[in-house]
């Protein structure tokens, strides 16, 4: 099966003031695949991830040039950020549930986008929580505060919240780095399970995680993509010596 390019990144440069954070990035992300970004801290991988749903817009002094296309549409020129964020969801490193009930956390997005019907919202909440593999765990306490959930459950709730507006792409920034191994495994299984419906990009410092779940991996260093290839190739026979040195722990 040949998947289409969901996201095209063309000659993208990003500056935080004087600091050149992304240097001439070119990359195509295929739909219904999991793409992993790896690299040492400060290499630009999170910056690129955030740029994909314009999370950098509000940071002062950020300048971006080049093109980022979602299904061929320039997300910086021809797309409203609210619409972009409906289509491209984001999950952060630290679970950040809203200080409200489990139900309200998931219903928040659809409500913002104009869904008013109680039965429709119920359906979305159940469906999203099921997709995040936590419906059975929380169905009897939907009205309870989300802050009472464990860290792993909170993170899956955040993933459910991302599902609730029916996005096409899900971006995850180190989603399991604060979680125990069981919760991590649940989220990894979940991501592999949902990739049939979503295009997923994940930033991770856990290289074994990248090898377990991703189809493609990009290695970033000093704001550049050093190597972007099929995950299995990149981790077994990297083409670039810098990639080899990083993944085998010789620097980084």
């Amino acid at each position: 099966m040949i998947n289409n390019d969901k996201i095209k990144i063309e000659n993208v440069n990003l500056y935080y003031g004087e600091f050149h954070a992304l240097k001439n990035i070119n990359m195509n992300v295929k739909e219904k695949e999991i793409t992993a970004f790896i690299g040492p801290s400060g290499c630009g991988k999170s910056t690129l991830l955030k740029s994909l749903n314009r999370m950098n817009d509000l940071i002062e002094g950020v300048k971006i040039n080049g093109k980022m296309l979602l299904d061929g549409i320039d997300i910086y020129k021809d797309m409203d950020p609210t619409m972009l964020r409906k289509r491209v969801g984001m999950v952060f490193q630290k679970p950040n549930p809203f200080p409200m009930s489990i139900y309200e956390n998931v219903a928040y997005g659809p409500k913002t986008h104009g869904v008013k019907s109680k039965s429709k919202l119920d359906e979305i909440v159940e469906q999203s929580l099921r997709s995040a593999a936590m419906w059975d765990e929380v169905k009897d306490r939907l009205k309870k505060s989300a802050l009472g959930l464990s860290g792993g459950q909170q993170q899956r709730l955040c993933i459910a919240r991302a599902f609730s507006v029916n996005p096409e792409v899900i971006l995850l920034d180190e989603p399991t780095s604060a979680l125990d191994p069981i919760s991590t495994m649940k989220i990894e299984d979940l991501l592999v399970d949902i990739k049939k419906n979503y295009t997923i990009i994940i930033v991770t410092h856990n290289m074994q995680q990248a090898t377990r779940i991703s189809d493609k991996t990009g290695f970033f260093l000093h704001g550049e993509v050093v190597e972007f290839d099929e995950t299995e190739k990149l981790f077994s026979m990297p083409k670039n010596k810098k990639t080899e040195d990083y993944i085998t722990g010789r620097f980084g």
Partner: protein
Amino acid sequence: MRNKFDTELENLNLELIKMGSLIENSIETSARALINQDLELVQKVNEFEVEIDEMEKTIESHCLKLLLQQQPVASDLRLISTALKMITDMERIGDNAEDIAEIARYLVNQKYIKDLVHIPQMADATISMVKRAIDAYVSKDKELALQVCKDDDIVDDLFQLVKKELIEKIQENTENGEQAIDLLMVAKYLERIGDHAENLAEWVIFSITGQHKTK
């Protein structure tokens, strides 16, 4: 930054060198046991075999420990998985040397139907192959490994030569048949040792290039 891991890999190299020299000794001793018709040397080969089996287990558990603790990737992963594959071939070489020693035990009181010329040459050629295959692994020398692969032809040619001579001996006198078959088996074991040594070299090439050698 990865001192402990590098030390462990260095130890793995030393263990493979040690196992390599054990099997070289074992081939050499089994060939001498046959030529000199010496039961003490047969016994020595049996002792080598026990040591080789032990060594295989030691290296295997070392590799598994490294896989568990280091979760190696890229060249590290290939190095360790190659070591795991190589010890299987090395252990088989040890078995073949023991098989030769057992035939030597059986022939210890028989007068040979011909001078043993090419069998010792086969033994020398396989010993050299094993030694260089291990060297190639340790020094990550692809050219050396390729050379070892080529040298299997020398062993194969010698086998054909031995076979031809033994057929002539049987044609001369059918009573030579039984010993000729025993000697042919020795040559066949050496030919198998050559194949295992070639496998060793092919694994070395895989560990260096990430690609299996195409025949």
